[in-house]
Structures are given as C-alpha cells and as structure tokens.
Symmetry: C2
C-alpha cells in the first residue's frame, strides 16, 4: 500500500509559491482585537475560506469576539483533533519602527514581514492549507478535525473558557494541537507539552492629595514610591525567591520524565546572554536555565511609575505611584487562588496600597510527555521536516491550553511553526518562508499520523 501522505507533501511542495501568495493576501487584513479593528471581517473571511475547502464552518458567538469553527467529521473510528489558533493580532505600534508597513506583507532575505505572520495567521493558515491539501489530493482527511480559531487571544482569551464550558458539544475531541509561538532557539522543530499560566495586577499607592516639596515636607509626609518599594521587597527577595505567603504551596514538582526532557534540550548560554547583551542571568544564578522557564513561577514588574521623570533633578516628594506586575504560574497553581494570596499579602504588609487585578487570569496547563499522541507527533515531524523534534515540557509563555486540559479534559500539544526570532508582539514581526512551508508539510503529516494511529494500535 502506498503512503497516502507522499502525494500530499508533493502537492504542498508544488504549491509552495501559490500558498505564500495566499498567505500574503490573508495578512493584508488587519484584525486587531485590542482596538476592535477588522475582527468581524476576518472572522467572516475565514468561514468562507473553510467552507470553500470543504469544512462545515460557522462564526460561533461568545461573550466577546466570535469563534471561527470549522469541522470535518467523516472518518468514523479515527481520532478527532481540535486544532486551535487565533485570528486576532497584536496592535502594530510603534509604527515608526517597522521597516515595511505592518499590513503590507513584504519579503526580505527569505522572511515574510507582516503583523500577525507568526502570531498567529501564518501558523493557522498553514494548518488550513494542510487540510486543503489532503482534501484536494485524496478527497478526504485521515482523521476527524475541529478547527477552533479565536479572536481574543491577544487580549488574554477572556471568554474562551466560558465558551468551552457552554459549548462542549462543539468541541468533543481526543486531543488538541496548537500551532503557535516560536520553535526552540536552536532552530530545531519543537513539541511543547504545556504552558505557564499568567495573572496581571497593578499596585497603586497615593498618600498626600498633592505632590509636595521634598525639603519642606521630607521626613513627615509619606512617600508612595517608598511604600511600594518596601512592599515589593516583601514579595520577592534579592535572591529571586518569591516570598508571598503561601505562594509556592500549590506547585506540582516536575516529573522525572520532564526533568530528563529539559536536560536534553540544547543550550548555548553564552550565545543567549550575548544575544541580549546580558552580563548575567537573573537570580538565583545556580538554577538550571530550562528548569526556571518550564517549572518555576515568576513575579515580573512590568512597569513602575511615579514622580518626576524629566531631565535633571526635581526635589519633589510625589503623592502617587503605581506598579504593574505579572505572575507566570506553573502547574498546578490557580490564578484565582494566587491572586487571593497576593491580595492577602498586600493587605497585611501595606494595607494602604490598592490592588487592581485583571479578571482574565490564565491557568497553567501540562500534558504528560508519555501521552500516546507523542509518538505520532514525533513521526509527523520526522516525515515533514526530516528531523526529530525537541520535546519541551512547557512553553515559557502563556496559551489558553488549560481550556483543553482542564475544561475539556483532553491532552494538549503545541507544535510551533514560527522561527524563534519571529518578533511577535514587536515591530517587524516575521516568519521565514521555510518555516511557513515546513508548517504546511508538518500540519499535513500530523493529520496523517493521527489517522494512522488507530491502525497501528
């Protein structure tokens, strides 16, 4: 029996330039969720696109921007894979830092530059082209597919959890696969088995009703910057340990297979430091690099602002200041629980400080590396890219994969197609032409291997 994947991959290779042209067309449509620009237009465009290749597609309303859902379930006895992506993109600011305009896709030096090319249009469009190629060449798909594209990932996926709880019947699948984020920095193909959660909050402090003179009032009027500095000092010490009461209680230590997996990841620490102009890593200095990124929570100060910031000096004692923070959570910390602990900690150490939290924290998620779907995914990468993928226990950023693992109860995998230097969320976002092409091939191979799984078992 001939391998039905081979002609599909041949087709994809033949169509390489045509697919690139269609991606460029797609990228010309802005869909900025934070600014509510182009969301409905692109959602509608996708429904037409999916219908056109033979999927049963719809715009499904949520409490926020609608979900695009496309389904093909004509392979009884085969697994059903939920392919997740997002059709919204980050705002394009700062515009003056773009070499070519963000919504005029431009090829330079083997890369396609455009807002959203890596995050996430180039990646889910590769999935769509993989589906199309199978259907075109073989008239069928190797397994059942539910394609779920949300329109609010870049604003923190605030409604996907409620959508999934309410619409379980639309999302019944055996596993989920997300093609998002970058490959490993070494350039090797990568499978990620989890993602850190995240919660953002702001600490605000105001003492006097107005700024005062530091000479006339210094010593008697309290300073909100000092209040925040001392509060922050109780939340994380200089050794890098988070010291919020009870913060570390819920952390599930990494499994032996996960520790073994991170030990196998390539690491060039000097190149990493050089690439970012760093003279040292963050404390604690002796903790292994990947262990920090996969298995440790963080408390990052995103911004601290208060008082005078102009040239020279100004002898002012400011009356208000604020700090913006995010916490990256690891399995099995819960954002609501952690936020309650932060709130209790602030209430105990600096009750004058106001805590303003975003509602839409994101839970961490993790899927065992020993999952039965790991082997077919690895085979798919070898078939499509000729290389074994690296296995990363967790991606370092946050994705709403807890919706799949914790709400739908299915294993969730991340198979990033973008290059590691995709500059997502930044000017000059890009995807290499090779990465995009390999993405389409990999998407096709994944479908094939999932379809072949039942036969192998």
């Amino acid at each position: 029996m001939t391998n039905p994947l081979a002609p599909v991959l041949d087709h994809i290779d033949t169509q390489r330039d045509a697919f690139l042209g269609r991606l460029i067309d797609y990228l010309r449509h802005p869909s900025i969720s934070a600014e509510n620009i182009g969301i409905n237009e692109v959602g509608t465009l996708l429904v037409e696109m999916l219908t056109g290749i033979g999927l049963d597609a719809q715009l499904a309303p949520s409490e926020g921007h609608p979900m695009v859902i496309g389904r093909w379930e004509k392979a009884p006895g085969k697994p059903t894979v939920l392919l997740y992506g997002h059709y919204d993109v980050q705002p394009a600011d700062p515009l003056d830092k773009w070499v070519s305009p963000p919504f005029e896709p431009t090829i330079r030096d083997g890369r396609l530059y455009a807002r959203g090319v890596g995050d996430n249009k180039g990646q889910h469009f590769a999935q769509i082209l993989a589906l199309e190629s199978h259907l075109k060449v073989n008239g069928t798909l190797p397994c059942n597919v539910i394609l779920l594209l949300e329109g609010e990932e870049e604003i923190g996926s605030p409604h996907i959890a409620a959508f999934a709880r309410k619409n379980r019947h639309l999302l019944e699948a055996d596993l989920s696969i997300t093609a998002d984020g970058p490959r490993h920095a070494s350039g090797a193909p990568t499978i990620k088995f989890g993602s850190r959660g995240v919660i953002s909050f702001e600490l605000r402090c105001r003492h006097a009703s107005r700024d005062v003179h530091s000479g006339n009032f210094g010593g008697v009027v309290p300073n909100p910057i000092w209040t925040l500095v001392h509060l922050l000092g109780t939340m994380k010490n200089a050794e890098g340990e988070i010291t919020i009461d009870g913060f570390n209680d819920g952390i599930e230590p990494p499994a032996a297979e996960e520790l073994a997996a991170v030990e196998r990841l390539p690491l060039d620490l000097e190149a990493f430091k050089q690439g970012l102009g760093l003279s040292r890593l963050d404390a604690p200095a002796d903790r292994p690099f990947y262990e920090r990124l996969c298995f440790r929570p963080t408390l990052t100060i995103n911004g601290f602002h208060g008082g005078y910031g102009g040239p020279g000096s100004k002898t002012v004692l400011p009356n208000e200041a604020f700090v913006k923070c995010d916490i990256r959570l690891v399995e099995a910390q819960d954002p609501v629980d952690i936020l309650n602990k932060v709130r209790a900690h602030v209430g105990k150490h600096a009750p004058e400080v106001e805590l303003i939290a975003e509602e839409n924290g994101m839970q961490p998620s993790k899927t065992p590396i020993a999952s039965p779907y790991t082997a077919p995914l690895r085979r798919a990468f070898v078939a499509a890219q000729g290389r074994e993928p690296l296995l990363m226990p967790a991606g370092f950023g946050s994705l709403p994969n807890y919706v799949f693992t914790k709400i739908l109860g299915i294993p969730a995998f991340v198979t990033p197609y973008a290059n590691h230097d995709e500059a997502n969320h930044a000017p000059n976002e890009n995807m290499t032409l090779d990465c995009f092409h390999e993405g389409v091939r990999t998407g096709a191979a994944v479908l094939h291997e999932l379809g072949a799984l039942a036969e192998r078992d």
Copy 2:
C-alpha cells in the same frame, strides 16, 4: 530722641499701594534660570533700580549667571548686614494649571499671583523698598548694607560658593539675612537659624539590550526594576531608617536650646494631615514632628520610572529603569562625603547600577539661637508686625546659607516674608498683600535694630 524708625514705617504705610504697583511691574519680567530666560535683563534692571535709590550697584560675573551686588557702607562703627536673595524664578510649567498667567501679576482675594512673587522677588523687593524708605525719609541707613542677589538659586546655586571664596572682599559683613521661604504654617512671623543641605542623584539600571516578553524570558533575564527595588531596600528600611553605611556618622545632635525651641513651636497635627489628605505621617511614627524636619536627614525618591505605564496590562520584562533621589542633610553632614558613601553603598550592593550625581550639592547650615543678633531681630519683628516671631532652629528646605556660615564665617538668619501657602515651585504662586507690606516694614525695622545694636551694647 525720637525713634527714627517711626517715620520710615509711616512712609511705608503711605506708600503701600504704590509699592504694590512697583512689585507688579517687577514681576512682569520673567527670569527663569533653568531655561536661561530674562536673566541678564532682570539683573540689569536690578542694578538700575539699586543705583536709583542710592546704592553702589554692579553686575558681578560668576562662573554662571551674574550676581547683583548693591552696597551702602557709610555708617562707620555700625554692623554690616549682608542681605541675600535671588532674582531667578522657577519655570512656570504646567501653564494650564495657572488661573491667571504666571507673568501677568493678578490680585485675587487679597493675594498677588505671579511666578516668583514669593520665591523670591516679592521678598527681596521688600528689602529693597525698606532700604529706599530709610534713605528717602532719613537720607541715610541705620547700618551698613551689602545686598547680594544671585541668579541661580532655583538651579541649586552651583556657583555662589566659588564666587564667595573668590570675592571675599566684596562680601565682608557681620551677619547675613535671607528673606526667603514661607513663614510658619500658623501664620506667625518666623526666624529660622539654619537650613538642611541637599544632594540629588540618579540611579540607572539596564540589563538586556531590549525589552523582552515576560513569559518567554521571565526567570532567566534579570529585571532592572527589581534590581533597583532591592537596592533601594538596602538604603532605607520600612521603619524609615536610612541604612546607607556610615550615613549617620557625621550628624551633630541638636543642642538643648534647639530642642527647647522646637518644643515651643505650635503644631496642629490633625490640621496638617487634613490639609494634605493624609491618613498618617511618614515612619517612624513616634518621632516628634519638628525634630524630623529640623534635625533629621531624609532620603526621598523623587521619581521611579521603568517599563510599561499605559492602560491595562502589558506582559513585558523591561530592560531599563531609573530612580531619582534627593537627600536632605543636617548639620554637620557634608554632601561630598555623603555622596561618596552612597556611591560605595551602591557599588557594594548593586555594582551594575550606575550612579549619576549632580555636582552642586548644598551643605547644611546652622547658626546658634544664642547669637547676639537674635535679640535685635526679634525686636524688629515686634516693631514691624506687633508679634514675637517663632524661633525655628532650621528651615526644612535648603538655602545656600552655608556660604555665609562656613565660607564667610558669619551668622546667617532667615526671616521669611511669604505666607506659608505661597505655592512656590508650583502653579498659582502667590503672596498675600499683607505679607508683602509687613515684609517691607520688617525689612526697615531690622535695619533700624541692627543700627541700634552698637548703641545698646
């Protein structure tokens, strides 16, 4: 023998409206040292004004803006008083907060509003009118006078010390008097015997060469805001104690007469807190109010800026941040010594942090309350304002009086004429019409009492 002061005070009362009109004319001339606006024009105007009333006046060059010096030394055997003031003013920003334009003096509710009216034009102009009134009524002054008006007080008086060292022959006097700053908050007339010094510096930290994503890099890339937070935490603790190594070594404890003086000062703590909307005072809470302001140094964070400050949240790990600070020094701390200690402390605790210091720190200064000039000054206030002045061991802000006490070796007194709510350095700077008028009277009475001193002794 009739009191020669009485007709001078009568003259001043008669001229009340005319003097106010001339002050308004003077205030129309901007002289903003920080922006080098109008400095030479106003300096020249003052030389003409002083010459016109009978002083020997000149613009004396310094390394910066010129000094205005006016002298009258035709009273052999009488003391020579050096009257210090400054003809430069603060910038007028933010302009939109002014009810009437800063350089269009406007009277509302018994107050004159204009940039520089309290700080310091209305105060040294009152001195000039006091000189004029004596000369006009009696054809002579009761004592010898050197009037010294500098043009750089609002940028930290960076050149007056060098000027004084180089031009001792121009400044030979028995005492100095500065009419600057506000009266006591109770509204009572006030004599101040010293001022805190000040030194400003900035702490800058930069780790990575660019901002990075808090998810993809949080845990391995160091955060400059955290570095600064932890460094600041080693410089002052939550109890309000400055913990820079050796910082408190040079502090001269207050004398018994100084402690007794601050105990006599009126204090309405509740009104103070209410006026500023404060629910508490700065730590340590149990230290007496005036003791903090007169005898304790401070470490004030003037501003802290780094990372994201816009609406909502942004999961960024910023690459640079800075903190601006000032330290108020008390007798006998030295700004150069303290700055060296700060530098050593930063070098020990956070060698990655860059310290940028301003050259022109200001030394603290203090004159004993038991000075022989205290009694005539008190008599002058009683004669001019009908009230005993409060005696404050130190003003809380900083003035370059160390030039008089430490370089010229003469006692230095501060006799503020402005109301306590003059809003100096702020929009809607003002001086009450009564304060200005009482200032002219007090200036005249001070000259008289100093002249009478020799006769009494």
